[in-house]
Each structure stands twice: as structure tokens, then as C-alpha cells.
């Protein structure tokens, strides 16, 4: 899977280092933290419904890991599929493209600061059941996790989320245009950094 030629959206969203070997990005403009290509470019030859049905749970899963909120992840997924529809990405490359786009868009969202208000609102309405606390991450903890994710180097964060969303090392490597051998290193660094952040937060309580 080679996404090099179709990273217009991704370059514009958050990671200028990505797609360095690719062609010039499609024209895009930033709007509310993530990119919206200026004009539809889809020729109509892709069965969008088939792509949607096959990839929607994955896209929601990726965004949910970043945001911690399924509802907001579904909102992100809508934006991502709209962007896909407007892009020239072939259906055969949709899975990797959509995964990375979901991670980028969600990371942009938590970095934009908009999440803060939502998070505080969520904490105020905390409904976590105490006796399943070991299995359920509380809203406050989700806020900590998201803040820590936002501080990770962008590529580390994306690789981490994609790997934990079930993408293979080969798929993560192709999606991020890195070598398969470096995926493990990238993910490991991200996990180590994230865990340290979580421990630091826990010990400061």
C-alpha cells in the first residue's frame, strides 16, 4: 500500500514531515483544526458505500482511541469520509488513508484545545461505575491520556494509535511512509512515554 501520492489532506492537517517523497498536496485549506479540500475531486468511480461499510468501524476505532469518546469519534469519522470522497484516493488504498486521516484529525482536535471544554464538561457529569474501575478508564483519566497523547511527537502518536487499532506493522509502515523495522521502535517509544506520563500524573495525585 503506497499512500505517498495521496497525502494532500494529511500534509495539510498536522504532519508536514509526512509525504515528503510524495507529489504536491492537493489544494486544501485549514478549517477548525483539520483540512477540508477546496473542491471535490472524486470522479464517481468509487463505490463509497462499500468503502464506508468496510472501513467505518476501523475509522471510528482509531479516532476513539485518540479522543476517548465514541460520539466524538463518530463525528470525526464523518469528516474523514467526506474528505475521502473529495479526494482522489483509490478505493484500494482507502483503509490506510482513512486510518491515518482519522488519527490526524482526532489529534488535531485534542491539540486545538476544543477538547478541553468538552473534557471538563464530561468530568462534571462523571457516570463511571466504581466497581468496574479496573476495567473502565474514568473521564478524568481519559483527559490525562489525551493530554499526554497530544504531547507525543506526531508520528509517534499516530503510529501508536494505528497499531492499537489493529493495523499490522506493514500497514502502519506504509501509512506513515516509514520502514516496517522502525514501527516497533516508534510504537515502543510512544508507549514508554505515555506510560511515564500516566505514572507521573498518578503519583502527583
Amino acid at each position: 500500500m503506497d499512500l505517498v501520492g495521496h497525502r494532500g489532506l494529511l500534509q495539510a492537517t498536522a504532519a508536514p514531515s509526512f509525504g515528503a517523497r510524495g507529489r504536491a498536496p492537493t489544494r486544501a485549506e485549514r478549517k477548525d483544526g483539520f483540512a477540508v479540500p477546496a473542491a471535490p475531486t472524486r470522479s464517481g468511480t468509487v463505490d463509497l458505500e462499500a468503502v464506508f461499510r468496510e472501513n467505518y468501524p476501523l475509522v471510528v476505532g482509531v479516532a476513539a482511541r485518540v479522543l476517548g469518546s465514541r460520539d466524538q469519534a463518530e463525528d470525526v469519522a464523518q469528516d474523514v469520509f467526506l474528505s475521502f470522497w473529495r479526494s482522489p484516493v483509490p478505493a484500494g488504498e482507502a483503509r490506510g488513508w482513512l486510518s491515518v486521516a482519522a488519527a490526524h484529525t482526532a489529534l488535531n482536535l485534542i491539540r486545538s484545545g476544543k477538547r478541553r471544554a468538552l473534557r471538563e464538561q464530561a468530568v462534571a457529569g462523571d457516570t463511571v461505575v466504581p466497581d468496574v474501575a479496573d476495567a473502565v478508564v474514568t473521564d478524568e483519566e481519559r483527559g490525562v491520556v489525551r493530554a499526554a497523547l497530544a504531547r507525543l511527537p506526531h508520528k509517534q502518536a499516530v503510529a501508536l494509535v494505528l497499531r492499537h487499532s489493529g493495523l499490522s506493522y506493514a500497514d502502519v509502515a506504509a501509512a506513515l511512509d516509514i520502514s516496517p523495522g522502525s514501527v516497533g521502535t516508534t510504537v515502543r517509544r510512544a508507549e514508554s512515554a505515555l506510560r511515564k506520563e500516566l505514572i507521573r500524573h498518578a503519583s502527583s495525585d
Partner: protein, 361 residues
């Protein structure tokens, strides 16, 4: 030999088949790397939990599609949509997903073979039974704490038909009443004989290994030194339906004699619980192994929570475990009836594998 990098250790957890043999062998015998592997496993498990969303379960794709369609209506080119591809066929373009089906079914009987095919479940799944394979990276602690010997024929072989499979294994070969959409043709039949492996605990090796990790060895229960546990699994049979074009499996229905543990000297549970208390064992893996009673009534089938969700359902009056990959690409249902494990797995929905399971003859 230099130590493999942290990245290699991390990949060993997820995709051991993607790691060079030399690195795998080094890690297996290297106390330093085993500590690194345990740390990587712990970090991965912590992060997997931390990245959970506020609620699980499959999203409502129909509702979401309706929402997107509304948004597209104003800008979508007036084209006639191509016919929706059949779901199973589309999903099975993913070799990893298809491999899950094959590996899962054979896990009860042909672990050595399954290890080659099954990256998703590999790391944790065969924890209890990997003692009988030569691939001990999933349980590095054990290779450091005793001797391992594998016996039995672990390579699956293809036979002509169900009758031949029955003759080889002695098992009643399940018959699928109705194939789901996207699955066509006749299955191939693979069989595997009985596998067994013996792990013999060594207090001296355990003490040395514990010292290498910098942690004290828990007190060794009386009579444990030199005692063995033998795990036996199989024989088994798998019916495999594959795509005619690619050969990738679309549906696998399998049956095997469930793993059973025998011990000498001390009760199996005593040895198992002591092994689980040794340094380096992740709490998650320990929890999963504790559920294995070793009497043929439970499945040593731990589920990596970051990749697979599990639930239970009733199949023929038995409690079955339903597994669904988080990307919804695969589903499987597994249950044990009087020491015989049966599994249905494929690039299908959980409702589809359950329907097949409940109709098996």
C-alpha cells in the same frame, strides 16, 4: 551477539513471525532481553487500557451511512453506485484476517502450525499450550525456569474428505448446513495429530533467572523442584473454505480435543500458580492462565483486549466464547463440549458465525 532493539522486542509481542529467527532465539535465552520484553508487554497493556474509549461495541454503520449520505447529497456527483460488494469477499482481501480464522481453529490441536499463521492471537493465546512448542517467546519466563520438551506431530496435513478426516482423528467432522454469503465451494480438510509438551520445573534455574531480573524468587512450594506438567492437545480437524482466486480462507470450522494438563509430584494448579507468580509475568497473562483448569473443560484462549473483544453466547446448551476483532474484520465462536473444542471463524459478523455454529450437524 548484540541485543535486539526495543523495537524488535515490541514487535515480538505483536508479530513474532516478523522477527528474525536469530533475534527470537537470542531473546529466548537472554535474561536482559526477557526483562525488556516483559517491560514492553507491560507498557503495551497499560497503553491499550488507557486508549479505551468511553464505550465499546460496534458502531451503528447503517445510521452513520445515512448521516453521511445526507451530507453528501448536496455535492455528490449524480452517479449510479456500483453494486455493493459482498462483505465477506471484501474483508477477506486482508490476509491477516483470514489467517486468524485458520489459526484459531487449529489452536486447540496444532499450536505449532497456528503460530505460523496467527499473528493476532499468537502472543497471548497459546500461553498455556505454547509450552509444548519450540516458540517460547510468549512465555519467556518458563524457558528460564525449567526444561521444555515437545513431542507429537504438529504439522497439519490435508486429507481428501470428511470421512478421511474422521478416520485420522476419530472426531465427528462438523457439517455446515448453510454457507453464509461470500463463502462458496467445497472445503478442504486439514488434520493434525496429538501434540504434547512437558515442562519440568527447576528451582536452580529459577533462582538464577530471578537473580538476573533483580527480583527475589518466591518461596518454592515443597515438592515442586523437578516436578513436571505435561500438556496434551489434539487431534483436530479443520474444514477450510477459501477464495478461489487468492486461496485466502473465508470460513473455517474446526474441531479438536481440548488441551488437558497432567502433572507429576504436585497438583497442576500448584505448579501453574507458582509459575504465574514468577517475576516477569504480566498481571494480564497471569489472570488469563488462572482460568485454565487443565482438565479439558476450559480454553487457554486469552484475548488481547486491544485487538479483540470477547463475549459469551449459548451454542447447543454450552457457553461459547465469541471473539470479534476490533476492526470488525473477523469473528469467531469457540466452545468446549465434553473435552472437545469446536470453533467457527471467518471474515464474518458475530451473528453469522453464531448462526453457523448453532446449525452445525
Amino acid at each position: 551477539m548484540r541485543h535486539p532493539t526495543d523495537g524488535v522486542l515490541r514487535r515480538l509481542l505483536d508479530e513474532p513471525a516478523g522477527v528474525a529467527d536469530a533475534d527470537r532465539e537470542h531473546v529466548r535465552d537472554c535474561p536482559v532481553c526477557l526483562v525488556g520484553l516483559a517491560a514492553a508487554r507491560e507498557d503495551a497493556a497499560t497503553v491499550a487500557t488507557a486508549l479505551r474509549a468511553d464505550r465499546a461495541g460496534a458502531p451503528d454503520v447503517d445510521t452513520a451511512w445515512a448521516r453521511l449520505s445526507t451530507g453528501l447529497a448536496a455535492e455528490r456527483p449524480p452517479v449510479v453506485a456500483a453494486p455493493r460488494s459482498r462483505r465477506g469477499a471484501a474483508l477477506l482481501r486482508r490476509p491477516a484476517a483470514a489467517a486468524l480464522a485458520v489459526g484459531l481453529v487449529l489452536a486447540g490441536a496444532g499450536v505449532a502450525a497456528a503460530n505460523d499463521w496467527l499473528p493476532i492471537f499468537h502472543t497471548e493465546k497459546v500461553a498455556a499450550v505454547s509450552i509444548q512448542t519450540d516458540d517460547l517467546v510468549a512465555l519467556p519466563d518458563l524457558s528460564a525456569y525449567g526444561e521444555v520438551e515437545v513431542t507429537g506431530e504438529g504439522n497439519p496435513q490435508q486429507v481428501a474428505d470428511a470421512q478421511a478426516a474422521h478416520g485420522f482423528t476419530g472426531l465427528d467432522v462438523p457439517e455446515v448446513v448453510q454457507l453464509p454469503p461470500g463463502v462458496t465451494g467445497d472445503p478442504t480438510y486439514q488434520v493434525v495429530g496429538e501434540l504434547s509438551g512437558v515442562f519440568t520445573f527447576s528451582a536452580a534455574k529459577a533462582a538464577a533467572a530471578a537473580a538476573a531480573t533483580g527480583q527475589p524468587l518466591p518461596p518454592v512450594p515443597a515438592g515442586l523442584d523437578g516436578s513436571s506438567v505435561r500438556l496434551v492437545a489434539g487431534p483436530g480437524v479443520a474444514e477450510v473454505w477459501s477464495q478461489s482466486s487468492s486461496g485466502i480462507p473465508t470460513l473455517v470450522v474446526g474441531r479438536a480435543v481440548a488441551p488437558t494438563a497432567f502433572s507429576s509430584g504436585v497438583p497442576f494448579t500448584t505448579l501453574r500458580d507458582y509459575l504465574l507468580s514468577l517475576p516477569g509475568m504480566s498481571p494480564q497473562l497471569a489472570e488469563q492462565l488462572r482460568s485454565f483448569t487443565g482438565d479439558g473443560t476450559t480454553l487457554p484462549l486469552p484475548v488481547p483486549a486491544d485487538q479483540v473483544t470477547s463475549s459469551t453466547a449459548d451454542v447447543h446448551g454450552h457457553e461459547a466464547t465469541v471473539l470479534v476483532t476490533r476492526d470488525q474484520a473477523m469473528a469467531a465462536v469457540v466452545w468446549v463440549d465434553h473435552g472437545v473444542l469446536t470453533a467457527v471463524a471467518g471474515a464474518l459478523g458475530d451473528d453469522e458465525v453464531l448462526a453457523i455454529a448453532r446449525e452445525l450437524r
